[in-house]
Subunit: 298 residues, 2 copies
Protein backbone atom coordinates (compact mmCIF):
# COMPACT_ATOMS: atom_id res chain seq x y z
CA UNK A 1 0.00 0.00 0.00
CA UNK A 2 1.33 3.44 -0.89
CA UNK A 3 1.43 6.01 1.86
CA UNK A 4 0.54 9.66 1.61
CA UNK A 5 3.64 11.80 1.96
CA UNK A 6 3.87 14.30 4.76
CA UNK A 7 4.38 17.02 2.14
CA UNK A 8 1.07 16.10 0.51
CA UNK A 9 -0.80 16.17 3.81
CA UNK A 10 0.73 19.53 4.77
CA UNK A 11 -0.20 20.98 1.38
CA UNK A 12 -3.80 19.79 1.75
CA UNK A 13 -3.99 21.38 5.20
CA UNK A 14 -2.61 24.62 3.76
CA UNK A 15 -5.32 24.58 1.10
CA UNK A 16 -7.89 23.86 3.81
CA UNK A 17 -6.75 27.00 5.64
CA UNK A 18 -7.23 29.01 2.42
CA UNK A 19 -10.67 27.60 1.83
CA UNK A 20 -11.82 28.19 5.41
CA UNK A 21 -10.51 31.76 5.48
CA UNK A 22 -12.36 32.56 2.29
CA UNK A 23 -15.63 31.16 3.66
CA UNK A 24 -15.19 32.96 6.98
CA UNK A 25 -14.56 36.32 5.33
CA UNK A 26 -17.80 35.84 3.39
CA UNK A 27 -19.64 34.88 6.58
CA UNK A 28 -18.15 37.79 8.50
CA UNK A 29 -19.32 40.34 5.94
CA UNK A 30 -16.60 42.92 6.39
CA UNK A 31 -13.38 41.67 7.99
CA UNK A 32 -10.26 40.56 6.15
CA UNK A 33 -7.67 38.13 7.51
CA UNK A 34 -4.19 39.50 8.13
CA UNK A 35 -1.40 37.04 7.41
CA UNK A 36 1.72 36.50 9.45
CA UNK A 37 4.35 33.98 8.33
CA UNK A 38 6.79 32.63 10.89
CA UNK A 39 9.72 30.25 10.98
CA UNK A 40 10.57 27.82 13.75
CA UNK A 41 14.28 27.89 14.62
CA UNK A 42 14.38 24.10 14.98
CA UNK A 43 12.65 23.52 11.61
CA UNK A 44 9.51 24.40 9.69
CA UNK A 45 7.11 27.23 10.38
CA UNK A 46 3.60 28.45 9.93
CA UNK A 47 1.13 30.78 8.33
CA UNK A 48 -1.08 32.57 10.87
CA UNK A 49 -4.23 34.34 9.76
CA UNK A 50 -6.05 36.59 12.18
CA UNK A 51 -9.28 38.52 11.78
CA UNK A 52 -10.91 41.37 13.64
CA UNK A 53 -14.16 41.46 11.77
CA UNK A 54 -17.69 42.78 11.67
CA UNK A 55 -19.27 39.60 13.06
CA UNK A 56 -16.20 37.78 14.38
CA UNK A 57 -14.62 39.99 17.03
CA UNK A 58 -11.38 38.00 17.15
CA UNK A 59 -10.48 34.94 15.15
CA UNK A 60 -7.41 32.95 14.27
CA UNK A 61 -6.97 30.33 11.54
CA UNK A 62 -3.48 28.94 11.94
CA UNK A 63 -1.61 26.56 9.66
CA UNK A 64 1.74 25.09 10.62
CA UNK A 65 4.13 22.37 9.45
CA UNK A 66 7.07 21.86 11.77
CA UNK A 67 9.77 19.26 12.20
CA UNK A 68 12.88 18.53 14.21
CA UNK A 69 14.08 16.27 16.99
CA UNK A 70 11.18 14.78 18.98
CA UNK A 71 11.08 16.54 22.39
CA UNK A 72 12.31 14.20 25.14
CA UNK A 73 9.11 14.62 27.11
CA UNK A 74 7.03 13.41 24.13
CA UNK A 75 9.36 10.53 23.38
CA UNK A 76 9.17 9.43 26.99
CA UNK A 77 5.38 9.81 27.20
CA UNK A 78 5.00 7.71 24.05
CA UNK A 79 7.64 5.15 24.95
CA UNK A 80 9.66 5.94 21.81
CA UNK A 81 13.44 5.95 21.37
CA UNK A 82 15.01 9.34 20.46
CA UNK A 83 13.87 10.21 16.94
CA UNK A 84 12.63 13.07 14.77
CA UNK A 85 9.07 14.25 14.19
CA UNK A 86 6.97 16.06 11.63
CA UNK A 87 3.69 17.72 12.60
CA UNK A 88 1.23 19.68 10.50
CA UNK A 89 -2.23 21.01 11.18
CA UNK A 90 -4.83 23.71 11.11
CA UNK A 91 -6.13 25.27 14.34
CA UNK A 92 -9.02 27.69 14.65
CA UNK A 93 -10.73 29.63 17.41
CA UNK A 94 -13.37 32.26 16.67
CA UNK A 95 -14.90 34.66 19.20
CA UNK A 96 -17.99 36.44 17.80
CA UNK A 97 -19.11 39.93 18.84
CA UNK A 98 -22.64 38.76 19.61
CA UNK A 99 -23.20 36.94 22.92
CA UNK A 100 -25.98 35.09 21.10
CA UNK A 101 -23.49 33.44 18.72
CA UNK A 102 -21.15 30.66 19.92
CA UNK A 103 -17.38 30.49 20.24
CA UNK A 104 -16.04 27.69 18.03
CA UNK A 105 -12.82 25.70 17.99
CA UNK A 106 -11.54 23.38 15.29
CA UNK A 107 -8.30 21.51 14.89
CA UNK A 108 -7.01 18.90 12.44
CA UNK A 109 -3.48 17.56 12.69
CA UNK A 110 -1.09 14.92 11.44
CA UNK A 111 1.97 13.66 13.30
CA UNK A 112 4.69 11.34 12.10
CA UNK A 113 7.94 10.20 13.68
CA UNK A 114 11.29 9.43 12.08
CA UNK A 115 10.90 5.77 12.94
CA UNK A 116 7.67 5.26 11.02
CA UNK A 117 4.84 5.95 13.45
CA UNK A 118 2.04 8.25 12.30
CA UNK A 119 -1.41 9.33 13.43
CA UNK A 120 -4.13 11.91 12.87
CA UNK A 121 -6.01 13.92 15.45
CA UNK A 122 -8.51 16.71 15.61
CA UNK A 123 -12.04 17.77 16.38
CA UNK A 124 -14.57 20.54 16.51
CA UNK A 125 -16.34 21.82 19.62
CA UNK A 126 -18.81 24.58 20.29
CA UNK A 127 -19.04 26.99 23.24
CA UNK A 128 -22.28 28.95 23.15
CA UNK A 129 -22.59 31.79 25.67
CA UNK A 130 -26.28 30.86 25.67
CA UNK A 131 -27.11 27.28 24.74
CA UNK A 132 -29.73 27.21 21.97
CA UNK A 133 -30.99 23.61 21.73
CA UNK A 134 -31.79 23.73 17.99
CA UNK A 135 -28.27 25.04 17.28
CA UNK A 136 -26.80 22.29 19.43
CA UNK A 137 -28.81 19.64 17.59
CA UNK A 138 -27.84 21.02 14.18
CA UNK A 139 -24.17 21.19 15.21
CA UNK A 140 -24.01 17.64 16.56
CA UNK A 141 -26.07 16.23 13.67
CA UNK A 142 -23.61 17.80 11.20
CA UNK A 143 -20.65 16.23 12.99
CA UNK A 144 -22.40 12.87 13.21
CA UNK A 145 -23.17 13.03 9.50
CA UNK A 146 -19.49 13.56 8.66
CA UNK A 147 -18.34 10.82 11.06
CA UNK A 148 -20.92 8.28 9.85
CA UNK A 149 -19.55 8.47 6.30
CA UNK A 150 -16.34 6.86 7.61
CA UNK A 151 -17.15 4.66 10.60
CA UNK A 152 -20.30 4.08 12.61
CA UNK A 153 -18.28 4.09 15.85
CA UNK A 154 -16.65 7.45 15.27
CA UNK A 155 -19.39 9.85 16.34
CA UNK A 156 -20.31 8.18 19.64
CA UNK A 157 -16.65 7.60 20.57
CA UNK A 158 -15.43 11.05 19.59
CA UNK A 159 -18.46 12.81 21.07
CA UNK A 160 -17.78 11.11 24.38
CA UNK A 161 -14.07 12.08 24.10
CA UNK A 162 -15.07 15.72 23.63
CA UNK A 163 -17.35 15.65 26.68
CA UNK A 164 -14.46 14.33 28.75
CA UNK A 165 -11.80 16.57 27.27
CA UNK A 166 -13.55 19.96 27.24
CA UNK A 167 -14.38 19.81 30.94
CA UNK A 168 -13.51 22.60 33.39
CA UNK A 169 -12.78 20.33 36.31
CA UNK A 170 -12.50 23.05 38.96
CA UNK A 171 -15.92 24.43 37.94
CA UNK A 172 -17.43 20.98 37.39
CA UNK A 173 -18.90 22.19 34.11
CA UNK A 174 -18.17 21.51 30.45
CA UNK A 175 -16.60 24.33 28.42
CA UNK A 176 -19.57 24.28 26.06
CA UNK A 177 -21.79 21.70 24.39
CA UNK A 178 -18.84 19.58 23.21
CA UNK A 179 -18.58 18.17 19.72
CA UNK A 180 -16.04 15.58 18.60
CA UNK A 181 -12.43 15.04 19.65
CA UNK A 182 -10.07 12.33 18.42
CA UNK A 183 -6.35 11.61 18.64
CA UNK A 184 -3.83 8.91 17.70
CA UNK A 185 -6.03 7.68 14.84
CA UNK A 186 -4.07 5.06 12.91
CA UNK A 187 -4.65 1.69 11.24
CA UNK A 188 -6.08 0.30 14.48
CA UNK A 189 -9.31 2.00 13.41
CA UNK A 190 -9.61 -0.52 10.55
CA UNK A 191 -9.12 2.33 8.08
CA UNK A 192 -5.91 2.86 6.14
CA UNK A 193 -3.84 6.04 6.21
CA UNK A 194 -5.53 7.62 3.22
CA UNK A 195 -8.99 6.90 4.60
CA UNK A 196 -8.10 8.43 7.96
CA UNK A 197 -6.71 11.46 6.16
CA UNK A 198 -9.99 11.70 4.21
CA UNK A 199 -11.96 11.55 7.44
CA UNK A 200 -9.81 14.21 9.13
CA UNK A 201 -10.05 16.41 6.06
CA UNK A 202 -13.83 15.96 5.98
CA UNK A 203 -14.00 17.17 9.58
CA UNK A 204 -12.03 20.24 8.48
CA UNK A 205 -14.40 20.79 5.57
CA UNK A 206 -17.44 20.50 7.85
CA UNK A 207 -16.28 23.44 9.93
CA UNK A 208 -16.90 26.54 7.78
CA UNK A 209 -20.42 25.81 6.47
CA UNK A 210 -21.58 24.75 9.94
CA UNK A 211 -20.22 27.88 11.64
CA UNK A 212 -21.59 30.08 8.84
CA UNK A 213 -25.02 28.63 9.52
CA UNK A 214 -24.67 29.16 13.28
CA UNK A 215 -23.70 32.82 12.75
CA UNK A 216 -26.67 33.20 10.42
CA UNK A 217 -29.00 31.69 13.06
CA UNK A 218 -27.71 34.19 15.63
CA UNK A 219 -27.81 37.26 13.39
CA UNK A 220 -31.27 38.43 14.42
CA UNK A 221 -31.16 37.46 18.09
CA UNK A 222 -31.36 40.65 20.15
CA UNK A 223 -29.01 41.29 23.04
CA UNK A 224 -28.00 44.10 25.37
CA UNK A 225 -25.74 44.82 28.33
CA UNK A 226 -26.77 41.86 30.51
CA UNK A 227 -26.02 39.40 27.69
CA UNK A 228 -22.70 41.11 26.95
CA UNK A 229 -21.71 40.86 30.62
CA UNK A 230 -22.55 37.17 30.67
CA UNK A 231 -20.53 36.65 27.48
CA UNK A 232 -17.50 38.27 29.17
CA UNK A 233 -17.81 35.94 32.16
CA UNK A 234 -18.12 32.90 29.92
CA UNK A 235 -15.04 34.04 28.02
CA UNK A 236 -13.29 34.07 31.40
CA UNK A 237 -14.22 30.39 31.74
CA UNK A 238 -12.83 29.79 28.25
CA UNK A 239 -9.53 31.27 29.43
CA UNK A 240 -9.60 29.11 32.55
CA UNK A 241 -10.09 25.94 30.53
CA UNK A 242 -7.40 26.75 27.99
CA UNK A 243 -4.73 27.82 30.48
CA UNK A 244 -5.44 25.32 33.26
CA UNK A 245 -6.67 22.16 31.53
CA UNK A 246 -6.02 22.15 27.78
CA UNK A 247 -3.20 19.66 27.20
CA UNK A 248 -2.19 21.22 23.89
CA UNK A 249 -1.85 24.70 25.39
CA UNK A 250 0.05 23.47 28.43
CA UNK A 251 2.38 21.34 26.32
CA UNK A 252 3.02 24.22 23.93
CA UNK A 253 3.77 26.72 26.67
CA UNK A 254 5.97 24.31 28.60
CA UNK A 255 8.02 23.26 25.55
CA UNK A 256 8.79 26.68 24.16
CA UNK A 257 6.13 26.62 21.44
CA UNK A 258 5.18 29.78 19.53
CA UNK A 259 3.26 31.71 22.20
CA UNK A 260 1.23 33.95 19.90
CA UNK A 261 -0.03 30.97 17.90
CA UNK A 262 -0.87 28.97 21.01
CA UNK A 263 -2.65 31.87 22.70
CA UNK A 264 -4.61 33.01 19.63
CA UNK A 265 -7.41 31.05 21.35
CA UNK A 266 -7.67 33.71 24.06
CA UNK A 267 -10.77 35.91 23.82
CA UNK A 268 -10.36 39.59 22.94
CA UNK A 269 -11.77 40.58 26.36
CA UNK A 270 -12.75 38.55 29.41
CA UNK A 271 -13.98 39.42 32.89
CA UNK A 272 -13.97 37.90 36.35
CA UNK A 273 -16.43 38.84 39.10
CA UNK A 274 -16.11 37.30 42.57
CA UNK A 275 -18.66 34.55 43.14
CA UNK A 276 -21.13 35.68 40.49
CA UNK A 277 -23.97 33.15 40.20
CA UNK A 278 -26.88 33.50 37.77
CA UNK A 279 -30.39 33.97 39.19
CA UNK A 280 -32.29 30.68 39.52
CA UNK A 281 -34.60 30.31 36.53
CA UNK A 282 -32.72 32.87 34.41
CA UNK A 283 -31.59 32.00 30.90
CA UNK A 284 -28.01 32.11 32.21
CA UNK A 285 -28.92 29.46 34.80
CA UNK A 286 -30.59 27.41 32.05
CA UNK A 287 -27.36 27.49 30.07
CA UNK A 288 -25.32 26.36 33.10
CA UNK A 289 -27.72 23.43 33.49
CA UNK A 290 -26.79 22.32 29.96
CA UNK A 291 -23.02 22.54 30.50
CA UNK A 292 -22.59 18.94 31.52
CA UNK A 293 -21.35 15.69 30.06
CA UNK A 294 -23.46 13.06 28.37
CA UNK A 295 -26.26 15.10 26.79
CA UNK A 296 -27.38 13.33 23.61
CA UNK A 297 -28.10 16.20 21.21
CA UNK A 298 -28.78 14.13 18.10
Amino acid sequence: MTMLTKEYIAEQFRLLQDDICQQLEAADGGGRFLEDNWQRPEGGGGRSRVLEGATIEKGGVMFSAVHGPLPDVTAKAMNLPPTTFFATGVSIVLHPHSPMAPIIHMNVRYFETGNGRWWFGGGIDLTPHYVVPEDARFFHASLKNTCDRFHSDFYPRFKSNADDYFFIKHRQETRGIGGIFFDYLDENTGLNQEEIFQFTYAVGKTFAPVYTQLLENARHRAWGDPEKQWQMLRRGRYVEFNLVWDRGTKFGLETNGRVESILMSMPPVATWVYNRKPEPGSKEAETLDLLKKGIDWV
Copy 2:
Protein backbone atom coordinates in the same frame (compact mmCIF):
# COMPACT_ATOMS: atom_id res chain seq x y z
CA MET B 1 10.49 26.26 74.52
CA THR B 2 6.76 26.88 74.32
CA MET B 3 5.19 26.81 70.91
CA LEU B 4 2.57 29.17 69.57
CA THR B 5 -0.72 27.35 69.16
CA LYS B 6 -2.29 27.13 65.73
CA GLU B 7 -5.38 28.81 67.18
CA TYR B 8 -3.30 31.80 68.25
CA ILE B 9 -1.66 32.13 64.84
CA ALA B 10 -5.00 31.88 63.04
CA GLU B 11 -6.49 34.53 65.32
CA GLN B 12 -3.56 36.88 64.65
CA PHE B 13 -4.00 36.39 60.90
CA ARG B 14 -7.72 37.12 61.27
CA LEU B 15 -6.89 40.37 63.07
CA LEU B 16 -4.37 41.17 60.35
CA GLN B 17 -7.14 40.83 57.77
CA ASP B 18 -9.29 43.27 59.80
CA ASP B 19 -6.47 45.78 60.09
CA ILE B 20 -5.57 45.60 56.38
CA CYS B 21 -9.19 45.96 55.26
CA GLN B 22 -9.62 49.05 57.41
CA GLN B 23 -6.48 50.66 56.00
CA LEU B 24 -7.44 49.75 52.42
CA GLU B 25 -10.91 51.25 52.78
CA ALA B 26 -9.29 54.48 53.95
CA ALA B 27 -6.83 54.39 51.05
CA ASP B 28 -9.57 53.62 48.56
CA GLY B 29 -11.63 56.61 49.63
CA GLY B 30 -15.07 55.26 48.86
CA GLY B 31 -15.36 51.49 48.62
CA ARG B 32 -16.46 49.12 51.36
CA PHE B 33 -15.47 45.45 51.65
CA LEU B 34 -18.25 42.89 51.34
CA GLU B 35 -17.81 39.85 53.55
CA ASP B 36 -18.51 36.27 52.62
CA ASN B 37 -18.05 33.48 55.15
CA TRP B 38 -17.62 29.95 53.93
CA GLN B 39 -17.13 26.47 55.38
CA ARG B 40 -14.93 23.74 54.02
CA PRO B 41 -16.71 20.35 54.03
CA GLU B 42 -13.52 18.56 55.19
CA GLY B 43 -12.91 21.04 58.06
CA GLY B 44 -12.47 24.75 58.74
CA GLY B 45 -13.41 27.63 56.51
CA GLY B 46 -12.71 31.21 55.68
CA ARG B 47 -13.72 34.83 55.67
CA SER B 48 -13.51 36.42 52.24
CA ARG B 49 -13.59 40.19 51.84
CA VAL B 50 -13.99 41.70 48.41
CA LEU B 51 -14.01 45.32 47.32
CA GLU B 52 -15.12 47.14 44.19
CA GLY B 53 -13.95 50.59 45.12
CA ALA B 54 -13.23 54.09 43.92
CA THR B 55 -9.48 53.56 43.54
CA ILE B 56 -9.25 49.78 43.73
CA GLU B 57 -11.30 48.35 40.87
CA LYS B 58 -11.29 44.80 42.24
CA GLY B 59 -9.68 43.56 45.39
CA GLY B 60 -9.81 40.52 47.61
CA VAL B 61 -8.49 40.12 51.16
CA MET B 62 -9.04 36.52 52.10
CA PHE B 63 -8.54 34.84 55.46
CA SER B 64 -8.82 31.10 55.91
CA ALA B 65 -8.06 28.45 58.51
CA VAL B 66 -8.64 24.92 57.29
CA HIS B 67 -7.78 21.44 58.48
CA GLY B 68 -8.31 17.80 57.66
CA PRO B 69 -6.44 14.82 56.29
CA LEU B 70 -3.29 15.86 54.43
CA PRO B 71 -3.95 15.36 50.67
CA ASP B 72 -2.03 12.32 49.37
CA VAL B 73 -0.30 14.40 46.73
CA THR B 74 1.11 16.75 49.38
CA ALA B 75 2.14 13.93 51.70
CA LYS B 76 3.95 12.26 48.82
CA ALA B 77 5.64 15.47 47.65
CA MET B 78 6.85 16.13 51.19
CA ASN B 79 7.82 12.56 51.94
CA LEU B 80 5.44 12.39 54.90
CA PRO B 81 3.36 9.43 56.12
CA PRO B 82 -0.43 9.88 56.01
CA THR B 83 -1.34 12.52 58.58
CA THR B 84 -3.54 15.56 59.16
CA PHE B 85 -2.83 19.21 58.44
CA PHE B 86 -3.81 22.67 59.59
CA ALA B 87 -3.28 25.71 57.37
CA THR B 88 -4.11 29.34 57.96
CA GLY B 89 -3.27 32.50 56.08
CA VAL B 90 -4.19 35.80 54.54
CA SER B 91 -4.09 36.29 50.76
CA ILE B 92 -4.54 39.54 48.92
CA VAL B 93 -4.65 40.72 45.32
CA LEU B 94 -5.65 44.28 44.40
CA HIS B 95 -6.27 45.57 40.87
CA PRO B 96 -6.47 49.39 40.77
CA HIS B 97 -8.55 51.38 38.25
CA SER B 98 -5.60 53.52 37.23
CA PRO B 99 -3.06 51.98 34.83
CA MET B 100 -0.50 54.20 36.55
CA ALA B 101 -0.95 52.36 39.87
CA PRO B 102 0.41 48.83 40.37
CA ILE B 103 -1.31 45.52 40.98
CA ILE B 104 -0.18 44.10 44.31
CA HIS B 105 -0.19 40.62 45.82
CA MET B 106 0.47 39.64 49.42
CA ASN B 107 0.26 36.33 51.21
CA VAL B 108 1.20 35.12 54.67
CA ARG B 109 0.56 31.56 55.74
CA TYR B 110 1.24 28.95 58.39
CA PHE B 111 1.12 25.20 57.87
CA GLU B 112 1.37 22.45 60.44
CA THR B 113 1.00 18.67 60.19
CA GLY B 114 -0.43 16.18 62.64
CA ASN B 115 3.01 14.69 63.17
CA GLY B 116 4.65 17.87 64.36
CA ARG B 117 6.08 19.58 61.29
CA TRP B 118 5.34 23.28 60.83
CA TRP B 119 6.47 26.16 58.65
CA PHE B 120 5.62 29.69 57.58
CA GLY B 121 5.49 31.08 54.07
CA GLY B 122 4.50 34.26 52.31
CA GLY B 123 5.62 37.31 50.45
CA ILE B 124 4.65 40.51 48.70
CA ASP B 125 5.19 41.31 45.06
CA LEU B 126 4.32 44.25 42.85
CA THR B 127 3.10 44.30 39.24
CA PRO B 128 3.13 47.84 37.85
CA HIS B 129 1.50 48.30 34.44
CA TYR B 130 4.17 50.98 33.97
CA VAL B 131 7.35 50.55 36.00
CA VAL B 132 8.13 53.74 37.92
CA PRO B 133 11.71 53.40 39.22
CA GLU B 134 11.18 55.54 42.34
CA ASP B 135 8.13 53.42 43.26
CA ALA B 136 10.14 50.26 42.70
CA ARG B 137 12.97 51.53 44.92
CA PHE B 138 10.55 52.59 47.66
CA PHE B 139 8.76 49.22 47.49
CA HIS B 140 11.91 47.12 47.66
CA ALA B 141 13.49 49.34 50.34
CA SER B 142 10.38 48.90 52.50
CA LEU B 143 10.55 45.11 52.15
CA LYS B 144 14.29 45.10 52.86
CA ASN B 145 13.72 47.21 55.93
CA THR B 146 11.20 44.70 57.30
CA CYS B 147 13.42 41.71 56.44
CA ASP B 148 16.57 43.25 57.93
CA ARG B 149 14.91 43.56 61.34
CA PHE B 150 14.90 39.75 61.50
CA HIS B 151 17.81 38.37 59.48
CA SER B 152 20.35 39.96 57.17
CA ASP B 153 20.03 37.05 54.72
CA PHE B 154 16.28 37.32 54.34
CA TYR B 155 15.94 40.18 51.86
CA PRO B 156 18.54 39.00 49.32
CA ARG B 157 17.34 35.38 49.52
CA PHE B 158 13.63 36.14 49.36
CA LYS B 159 14.08 38.82 46.69
CA SER B 160 15.86 36.30 44.51
CA ASN B 161 13.10 33.73 45.22
CA ALA B 162 10.50 36.24 44.04
CA ASP B 163 12.40 36.94 40.82
CA ASP B 164 12.47 33.21 40.10
CA TYR B 165 8.92 32.50 41.19
CA PHE B 166 7.01 35.35 39.54
CA PHE B 167 8.38 34.58 36.10
CA ILE B 168 6.18 34.06 33.04
CA LYS B 169 8.33 31.42 31.44
CA HIS B 170 6.52 31.28 28.08
CA ARG B 171 6.91 35.07 27.72
CA GLN B 172 10.43 35.12 29.18
CA GLU B 173 9.44 38.09 31.34
CA THR B 174 8.80 38.59 35.04
CA ARG B 175 5.21 39.23 36.15
CA GLY B 176 6.26 42.56 37.60
CA ILE B 177 9.16 43.96 39.60
CA GLY B 178 9.15 41.10 42.11
CA GLY B 179 9.40 41.63 45.84
CA ILE B 180 9.97 38.88 48.39
CA PHE B 181 8.80 35.28 48.45
CA PHE B 182 9.55 32.69 51.13
CA ASP B 183 8.31 29.22 52.01
CA TYR B 184 9.03 26.38 54.44
CA LEU B 185 10.54 28.79 56.99
CA ASP B 186 11.28 26.80 60.14
CA GLU B 187 13.97 26.52 62.79
CA ASN B 188 16.58 25.91 60.09
CA THR B 189 16.59 29.70 59.69
CA GLY B 190 18.19 29.99 63.15
CA LEU B 191 15.01 31.70 64.40
CA ASN B 192 12.51 29.99 66.65
CA GLN B 193 8.82 29.55 65.84
CA GLU B 194 7.72 32.75 67.55
CA GLU B 195 10.41 34.79 65.82
CA ILE B 196 9.43 33.41 62.43
CA PHE B 197 5.82 34.19 63.20
CA GLN B 198 6.85 37.74 64.12
CA PHE B 199 8.73 38.09 60.85
CA THR B 200 5.80 36.77 58.81
CA TYR B 201 3.42 39.05 60.67
CA ALA B 202 5.72 42.02 60.08
CA VAL B 203 5.59 41.28 56.33
CA GLY B 204 1.79 41.33 56.61
CA LYS B 205 1.90 44.64 58.48
CA THR B 206 4.22 46.16 55.87
CA PHE B 207 1.65 45.63 53.14
CA ALA B 208 -1.07 48.24 53.76
CA PRO B 209 1.05 51.35 54.43
CA VAL B 210 3.29 50.56 51.47
CA TYR B 211 0.39 50.08 49.06
CA THR B 212 -1.37 53.17 50.43
CA GLN B 213 1.77 55.17 49.60
CA LEU B 214 1.98 53.67 46.10
CA LEU B 215 -1.67 54.56 45.41
CA GLU B 216 -0.98 58.07 46.68
CA ASN B 217 2.06 58.38 44.37
CA ALA B 218 -0.10 57.35 41.40
CA ARG B 219 -3.09 59.55 42.22
CA HIS B 220 -2.04 62.52 40.08
CA ARG B 221 -0.48 60.63 37.18
CA ALA B 222 -2.56 61.31 34.07
CA TRP B 223 -3.64 58.52 31.77
CA GLY B 224 -5.98 57.96 28.82
CA ASP B 225 -7.07 55.26 26.40
CA PRO B 226 -3.60 54.06 25.34
CA GLU B 227 -2.59 53.50 28.98
CA LYS B 228 -5.88 51.74 29.73
CA GLN B 229 -5.35 49.42 26.76
CA TRP B 230 -1.85 48.58 27.92
CA GLN B 231 -3.18 47.90 31.43
CA MET B 232 -5.69 45.42 29.98
CA LEU B 233 -2.95 43.58 28.10
CA ARG B 234 -0.75 43.44 31.21
CA ARG B 235 -3.72 42.08 33.15
CA GLY B 236 -3.88 39.35 30.50
CA ARG B 237 -0.29 38.48 31.38
CA TYR B 238 -1.28 38.39 35.06
CA VAL B 239 -3.96 35.83 34.17
CA GLU B 240 -1.42 33.81 32.19
CA PHE B 241 1.02 33.69 35.09
CA ASN B 242 -1.61 32.77 37.66
CA LEU B 243 -3.32 30.04 35.63
CA VAL B 244 -0.27 28.53 33.92
CA TRP B 245 2.61 28.92 36.38
CA ASP B 246 1.44 29.79 39.91
CA ARG B 247 1.92 26.66 42.01
CA GLY B 248 -0.64 27.73 44.60
CA THR B 249 -3.35 28.31 42.01
CA LYS B 250 -2.63 25.05 40.19
CA PHE B 251 -2.53 23.07 43.42
CA GLY B 252 -5.78 24.64 44.60
CA LEU B 253 -7.63 23.99 41.36
CA GLU B 254 -6.34 20.44 41.05
CA THR B 255 -7.18 19.47 44.64
CA ASN B 256 -10.72 20.75 44.76
CA GLY B 257 -9.93 24.00 46.61
CA ARG B 258 -12.48 26.79 46.92
CA VAL B 259 -12.50 28.15 43.37
CA GLU B 260 -13.83 31.63 44.13
CA SER B 261 -11.14 32.23 46.76
CA ILE B 262 -8.36 30.92 44.54
CA LEU B 263 -9.48 32.95 41.53
CA MET B 264 -10.10 36.20 43.41
CA SER B 265 -6.65 37.07 41.99
CA MET B 266 -8.12 37.35 38.48
CA PRO B 267 -8.39 40.90 37.17
CA PRO B 268 -11.85 42.41 36.65
CA VAL B 269 -11.19 42.69 32.90
CA ALA B 270 -8.32 41.50 30.71
CA THR B 271 -7.63 41.55 26.98
CA TRP B 272 -5.61 39.61 24.44
CA VAL B 273 -4.51 40.98 21.06
CA TYR B 274 -2.62 38.77 18.62
CA ASN B 275 1.11 39.51 18.57
CA ARG B 276 0.84 43.05 19.96
CA LYS B 277 4.33 44.47 20.57
CA PRO B 278 4.99 47.95 21.96
CA GLU B 279 6.73 50.51 19.72
CA PRO B 280 10.49 50.60 20.27
CA GLY B 281 11.32 53.52 22.57
CA SER B 282 7.76 53.82 23.92
CA LYS B 283 7.11 53.85 27.66
CA GLU B 284 5.48 50.43 27.25
CA ALA B 285 8.73 49.11 25.73
CA GLU B 286 10.67 50.69 28.60
CA THR B 287 8.49 48.80 31.07
CA LEU B 288 9.04 45.51 29.23
CA ASP B 289 12.79 46.12 29.46
CA LEU B 290 12.45 46.25 33.25
CA LEU B 291 10.45 43.02 33.52
CA LYS B 292 13.44 40.78 34.06
CA LYS B 293 15.18 38.99 36.89
CA GLY B 294 18.06 40.30 38.92
CA ILE B 295 17.45 44.05 38.96
CA ASP B 296 18.78 45.45 42.23
CA TRP B 297 16.24 48.15 43.13
CA VAL B 298 17.63 49.04 46.54
